[in-house]
């Protein structure tokens, strides 16, 4: 069954926070940049949040507001603002902050999510796009609120978890943008992640983004002499396109979500210009 396709702009305004998630290498950062670019073109006040500290988004979106959030820094800031300023420095310098994070898995995630919630509540942004953690981690990252609600019964962490859980459960405030590639393994992983996010985390999913799709005019390799460069290149292209199309159809069958497509960018480099070019797919300038 051919998958449902949607108007990309439709979901840009449906929630304030969009967390972009997917396995390593599927192009989360690309999708974050394109999403932000399309929203900026629409005149929205956009904040981009980068979690893994790689600092590539500033280069891809030269005119956007990009904020780097690190778990360690957020945890220190959190302790600081919760009456622990005197010990925070000592906690950080002795490495005990690692122990706090290990003793209470998810506490670092909850402070990061808490920070995102605080930015969402500030009302200064129409859209906050978060370049999220890898798929496996995305589930634990977003589950942090739920697990801490049961393991920590009171105190500031509990309050924070309650607030974050409320944000995640409300589709008007927060949604997750899953990213995948049009190949069997990434598709299967995306389907598993989608179910885990919906069932275990209870977060709402936007249309799923299929990145790097090769599409183009029909080719008839048999029109060229068998084994000639033209025939071989044609056969290769046809096979890749069939693989991509089949993967999108399988994804549609396994997951009822509508799909958004981003084409493959030739070459090795991704820059601000290629982000602009990709954003044309979703929201022509």
């Amino acid at each position: 069954m051919p998958p449902k396709r949607v108007d990309p702009l439709q979901f840009l305004t449906s929630a304030t926070v969009a967390i972009v998630a997917g396995k390593g290498g599927v192009g989360k950062t690309t999708v974050t940049a394109v999403l932000a670019r399309a929203a900026i073109r629409r005149g929205l006040r956009v904040l981009v949040i980068e979690l893994d500290g790689k600092a590539t988004l500033g280069r891809l979106l030269p005119d956007a507001t990009v904020l780097q959030l690190s778990a360690t820094a957020a945890l220190a800031e959190y302790l600081d603002t919760h009456g622990l300023s005197r010990v925070t420095k000592r906690l950080a310098s002795t490495g005990i902050i690692d122990v706090v994070a290990t003793a209470s898995p998810g506490i670092d995630d909850i402070v990061v999510l808490g920070k995102i919630k605080q930015l969402e509540q500030s009302g200064n942004h129409d859209l906050i796009v978060v370049d999220g953690p890898a798929a496996g981690h995305a589930i634990t990252f977003l589950l942090a609120a739920k697990s801490l609600l049961t393991s920590v019964r009171g105190g500031p962490v509990h309050t924070q978890a309650v607030d974050v859980a409320a944000m995640l459960a409300d589709p008007a405030r927060c949604q997750v943008v899953l990213v995948t590639l049009p190949e069997t393994t990434p598709i299967n992983e995306a389907v598993e992640t989608a179910y885990a996010l919906e069932d275990r985390v209870g977060v709402h999913l936007t249309p799923i983004v299929v990145n790097g799709v090769d599409a183009g005019p029909a080719l008839q390799p048999e029109a060229a002499p068998a084994g000639s460069p033209m025939a071989l290149a044609g056969e290769f292209r046809v096979a890749r396109r069939q693989l991509h199309e089949a993967a999108c159809c399988d994804l549609g069958d396994m997951l009822g979500l509508p799909q958004l497509i981003l084409p493959n960018v030739p070459g090795s480099l991704l820059d601000a210009a290629s982000v602009e070019h990709l954003a044309d797919e979703w929201n022509p300038a």
Binding site: V99, T184, P229, A233, P266
Partner: protein
Amino acid sequence: MNTLRHHLATAEVLVCCGSGGVGKTTIAAALGLQAARLGRRAVVVTIDPAKRLADALGVPGGLGNDPLRLDVEGPGELWALMLDTATTFDGLVRANAADDEQAERILANGFYRNVAGGLSGTQEYMAAERLHALHLDDRFDLVIVDTPPTRNALDFLDAPGTISKFIDHPLFKLLMMPTRRGLKVLNIATQPLLRTIGRVVGGDVLADAVAFFQAFAGMETGFRARAEAVTTLLQSDITRFVLVASPREDTIEEASYFAGRLHEAGLEVGAVVVNRCTPSFGEPPATRPRAADKAALYDNLVELNVNAATERKQAAALLTTTGVPKGVRTTWVPTLPGDVHTMQALATIRDLLFG
């Protein structure tokens, strides 16, 4: 001789590192296939093999924590296993505990379960631990490790590894007061700092952490000796490192990070594999055909050639900035038309690697 062929014939440990999505596990498996063909008894340690790869290896039920022999072309052998971090860590605790009681006390501890199950660095350390054990295993003469797709993948190079994070940890030292009769464990209630942490994260959680460090007392010597043995193996010349990337900037940046990491540890990159390249199929005819169907094929060939050449040029330029020495050979592996989900496809990758 910095070629894959040379490393496969002479190394006893091959470590494949690179970012996620570059087909690192596939490359590790293809190296294993070639090793078996060279008559070696190889075992591939993977972290999280995709189901399709398990299918390709002929183990549709998936891999387990124990090595499984695969049905491959000889005269050598190929085995594979999937690393189970928690089980490996449990085994290490049992081996180093003074008695069963101490082992059980640690294994049942909540903080330990968090450390064993998910703490960043643990998986990397356990991969190193496992490769050391497999290196000593008489069944194998080559261990091929597919590292986790994270930047911490090479953290085990820092002697004596992640485990020192715990045994040299300030909290551990804070809790252990030297006394005349040995180490004495301090009471949480007497430590203002710990009381404060307890108020934030909850008292139970902290009590678990403290209990873990208490139970761990006495085991640090064994752990440290083991970690040092692992590091010695990784730093010896029977271990070689293969960087795997795709022709995309972000994956080459990751490769560059790993190269720097190895260099810091006084080690060098053995070989580079750039996987999933746009293939080229030879030169187009001198003139563009007039018939529409042939013209479309001509355009397609020209487009692929241009893309392949641009990609190759850009990727090669990026590779020169990685700090990988010039003498290290890069092997370019083209994207296959289909998914790698059969042994035949895996053998094709092997042949593309070894020509």
